[in-house]
Subunit: 646 residues, 2 copies
């Protein structure tokens, strides 16, 4: 870890997304999802599962009578919504939305207890029980999410009511939990507070906040195990008692610095890894950084789907073991993919290396946005790579896999999480340090960079994900320094022109470094080759052996029944098949479709038995149509498959 490598994301206000692809996602989120979710949080969406979220805060604030409704982590839905609103207001001012958010914040603050405590479940059900089940009751998780909202809202609006409330809550937690005698030696059962506290620390520079984040990480998994003692003391039920997971479900089976594998619940794991990276960077802790690197490699080189999905198993929504990546029983929770984006950017903040950005791009363009329907009204929790609708219905092992996106979930973690990410996608495209700005994602945007203390306005235009052409031009300002442009891992060949001429440029860690004095009118033109690529998985991935996945640029493609008929497993993509790249502006909101001449094994089986000597069925030529994976399940229910036999 080298401090000179460190970068930080641009403030969201310095990134105005103009991109056709992501801009359209942002508009959907702003126009539809945020208002829809507000209605959902208020239980005003007919046919959707009840939320009870706002109602819980009203009861906690003494404004109405009633019982707490929903999950112990119901508060976090409002937190994620508020965080999303903060980003939305930055992207596009909206006084009415801001008023609604202010009122919601006023409600949250009204529920806060005199000592700073702020969790509706315990405020309603009895404060004497608070902090008695850190393992499963998500108090610190809700705290973390609301803290993220507070920071984001403060950064977006300058209003600090929620921030001050959350600082008081952080103080309250700090008085109750920590290494000192008399305090609980605990940590979150579901991580996120670690990241959140680091965001708070970046504003307050109050050592207390850093210390608490670091404590949560270092205390996790230490013997004697806090969760075990807590359970004994308070008679809590241990759901994973007889499971192979046990405390690994919570990444607490051993001290964090000893962990070599991304394990347990995938969302928790991804949030923990993100927090580890944050603390490692802030403290310069080499050992913790090595832990982050080890977990990164475990998660992304041995336990990640080609779509960037993580979590192979429905059971525990969790990681299983190396190279165990079944396509049809996968969990691949949208939230876990989002968590992996968080982790990737934090690794980039420590060291800008294309590997991290490659994963970030893979996850964003595939396993994250597959979570939302194109019209922004329906959501996937689970993001499978192979679906047979009949199996989702009749095979218990696949019933968690839905062949169509759902309206809203009683456990509504994914939709608002997706919204906050999409609204703030600009925060993932560039990280910078004093003398250099690293462009990680080619998202069209107007950016305000700062190089060696001098602002530089640049306009980035990108054909991604459909075309490899990218241009970057300086529109205002003058500054000397390096603009580093990522060479995507999927790109074998590219051309680079600066002001009409091939420049001198070095490449480091997968970035083209353009170090010069930048002036208005300076233009960088890049053209990344974006061929169709047949990707294979590491042969140790049992489920993908003998198969290929079709990709082009950042996008993973898939076969859908709609285009290719039933029984997708009968299809084969011979090695020599050539692809045609076809723009389909009217299809699925405008996509590029890939077609190839494949083969289909006949269903007409000459034998009258289920098994017969090989050679009873023929293969005949059959056109194959591949669509981008993220866009699947937008044309009714049908089969889908990412991996195709070769």
């Amino acid at each position: 870890m080298n401090k000179n490598d460190f970068t930080h994301p641009l403030p969201l206000r310095s990134v105005r997304v103009t991109d056709g692809f992501w801009g359209s996602y942002q508009r959907r989120v702003l126009d539809k999802v945020i208002p829809y979710q507000w209605e959902a949080l208020n239980d005003r969406v007919p046919g959707a599962d009840k939320s009870g979220c706002i109602r819980n805060f009203e009861i906690a604030a003494g404004r109405r009578q009633g019982e707490h409704y929903g999950w112990v982590f119901q508060d976090s839905d409002l937190a994620k919504w508020l965080e999303a609103v903060a980003y939305a207001l930055t992207v596009r001012p909206d006084p009415e939305l801001e008023r609604t958010a202010d009122e919601a914040i006023e409600l949250v603050c009204a529920a806060q207890q005199p000592d700073g405590y702020l969790n509706t479940y315990y405020i309603i059900n009895g404060l004497e029980k608070r902090f008695t089940n850190l393992q499963d009751h998500h108090e610190l998780y809700c705290f973390g999410h609301m803290l993220e909202a507070a920071v984001a809202y403060y950064q977006a609006t300058g209003k600090d009511a929620l921030l001050q409330a959350m600082i008081r809550y952080a103080d309250c937690i700090d008085r109750c939990i920590g290494p000192e005698e008399g305090k609980l030696h605990g940590y979150p059962g579901h991580e996120v507070a670690e990241m959140a506290l680091m965001r708070l620390y970046a504003i307050t520079h109050d050592e207390k906040h850093l210390r608490l984040a670091k404590y949560f990480i270092d205390q996790r998994g230490q013997a004697p195990l806090y969760f075990e003692e807590e359970g004994r003391r308070n008679g809590n039920r241990f759901y994973w008692e007889n499971s192979p997971f046990r405390y690994n479900y919570y990444q607490a089976g051993m001290p964090v610095r000893k962990q070599k594998e991304a394990m347990g619940h995938a969302v928790r794991a991804a949030y923990l890894m993100s927090g580890i990276a944050d603390v490692a960077r802030e403290t310069g802790d080499e050992e913790l950084y090595r832990t982050a690197l080890t977990l990164w490699e475990s998660a992304t080189r041995r336990r990640m789907y080609i779509t960037g999905a993580i979590g192979s198993s429905h059971y525990g929504e969790a990681f299983t073991f190396d190279y165990d990546l079944p396509n049809d029983t996968v969990y691949g929770e949208t939230c876990a993919a989002i968590g992996l984006v968080f982790f990737a950017r934090r690794m980039l903040e420590i060291r800008p290396k294309a590997e991290y950005a490659d994963v970030m791009e893979r996850v964003l363009y595939n396993g994250v946005i597959s979570g939302m329907s194109l019209d922004g009204t329906r959501f996937f929790y689970v993001n499978p790579l192979e679906v047979v609708p009949e199996a989702c219905e009749k095979d218990e092992g696949k019933r968690h896999v839905k062949p169509e996106r759902q309206k809203w979930f009683g456990c509504a973690c994914c939709p608002p999480n997706l919204v906050r990410l999409l609204a703030s996608v600009g925060q993932y495209m560039v990280t910078a340090r004093d003398g250099a700005a690293y462009i990680h994602l080619y998202i069209g945007a107007d950016l305000v960079l700062e190089l060696n203390g001098r602002p530089l306005k640049v306009s980035l235009r990108s054909g991604f994900p459909w075309q490899g052409k990218v241009s970057l031009s300086v529109t205002d300002g003058q500054a000397g320094g390096c603009i580093a442009l990522r060479i995507p891992g999927w790109c074998g060949r590219y051309t680079l022109v600066v002001n009409g001429r091939p420049p001198e440029a070095s490449v480091k860690d997968g970035y083209l470094l353009l170090d010069r004095t930048w002036q208005p009118g300076d233009t960088v033109e890049l053209d990344f080759d974006m061929p169709v690529t047949r990707m294979a998985a590491d042969p140790r991935v049992r489920e993908d052996i003998g198969k290929v996945a079709v990709t082009r640029g950042p996008l993973v493609y898939c076969l859908e029944e709609k285009d290719n008929g039933k029984n997708l497993h009968l299809l084969r993509l011979p090695r020599e098949a050539e692809f045609e790249i076809r723009e389909a502006p009217d299809l699925l909101g405008g996509v590029t479709v890939l077609t190839a001449e494949g083969l289909r094994r006949s269903e007409n089986w000459a034998a009258d038995a289920l098994y017969a000597p090989a050679g009873q069925s023929e293969e005949t030529p059959c056109p194959l149509t591949f669509i981008p994976y993220y866009a699947w399940a937008n044309r009714g229910i049908g089969e889908m498959s990412v991996w195709t036999r070769e």
Copy 2:
């Protein structure tokens, strides 16, 4: 259905198995398993799960104090053991074993209530509750198994104490359950009583017994649904309330004659289908026969593994849907395979057709005997076709799959079921009618046939499953009639010689018909070609596409890690690979091993990422060794796979 086609099995005493293969299984069962299981039933096996079975009977008989232990169907373990003993005594007299069985029967009879009722669970827990949960409490299941034991023991020893007790119990049930007003309009939650009553009827010719069996079948699934009413009336819990199964789990979602698919719990389904065939044959009921045919086709042409295993899913230990035959998450319960053997023989009794015998042979030589270790001390419940031990441990969806056989189960249905089948295997090899005897299985045995009323002793010698040579010679008696010899479905070419000369023989339904006057010294010699065959599955079987299974004669072969190294999925068997057939007398109790030159994809993956453009790893030649599937998991824990990529 044509009455002239009907056949019946030979009495077990008319079949003395001399076969090297099955004789050895019988010896293991007689020498080891029956004594071992008696110890287990008496809770005298250190380290094995407690049974409580005998103890329950002692308590029910008032000979000791205590509570009922174990499952509601614990009585059936003793029933299956007694049935196995009956067959064992026929195979090989054993006065001491017979004395033990007599004492056990005396105990069972002592537990019987004055009105004939006989189930330890309710005798101990309160008779007022009896027949209040036919759906789940297995009373009629235990009745059925004990009745089968009673019939078998009577046939083996001539002793009728248990038979008379069970006739009284049948009368008791008949007084309580039936179509008449005031009776419960119920039927077994777990079938078996149907078959058992038909065996009883064959002895008693008491219409009451036939009527009850037929009622159980015809009443099943009729509206208003008995189980639903029973549940409401007695407040029983309905475990499948929110499952897609609902009453189909019990094959009771619709009237039996309307059923088109083998569905629900596979053992239950197989036992029901067997009972349907029994009643159809006995009553000449065409509609019921068509139901049996329809269910046969569903079970064996669309829902059966190549090993003869049935039940694709752990959930409900059940059938799922057509062509859904996953190899690694399969259930394939040993008991269900046994049930399929029962069904196949009953279909043969209605019409001798090689298709039924082919399935019976497939199941017996593969999915049934895979359930027991070669030393007869350990058992599989679940019989997978693909195993990766790490996945059995770490993937919840595969935790029901064990990579090694277990000693004894708390729910000990499979081991004693296997024992009763192996002890009585002679009852599956021949069925006969007045003028004809059909040899279905080529198991070496001394047989007493009866042709047109005249006994004929024949000696059958067979090289199965290792060689295709079979000879049949008349050793005593003289009789005119047809000896029909099955041409196995896997055999493309054979030679037939009678008394040294090719005879005139017609073929019907897959049987060679040899109609003549048989005399001592007459000898039939058959030589069935037994080539190695690469079998494919119907292309609609998603999991087997692009793969082949290696078979030879009746045996399905598999790859084991022990011979082929880890990561069996990396192996491929090219279409042109040639097989070598090698006898290995010292391996696995003496087997024929198949070897071929295959290919192994290298685990050395040139890319440093999990996914990379195809072509990063090479295939190199690699010898493949296939062993018979039934013998897998006898050399320690390791991977196993039946299907290999082509």
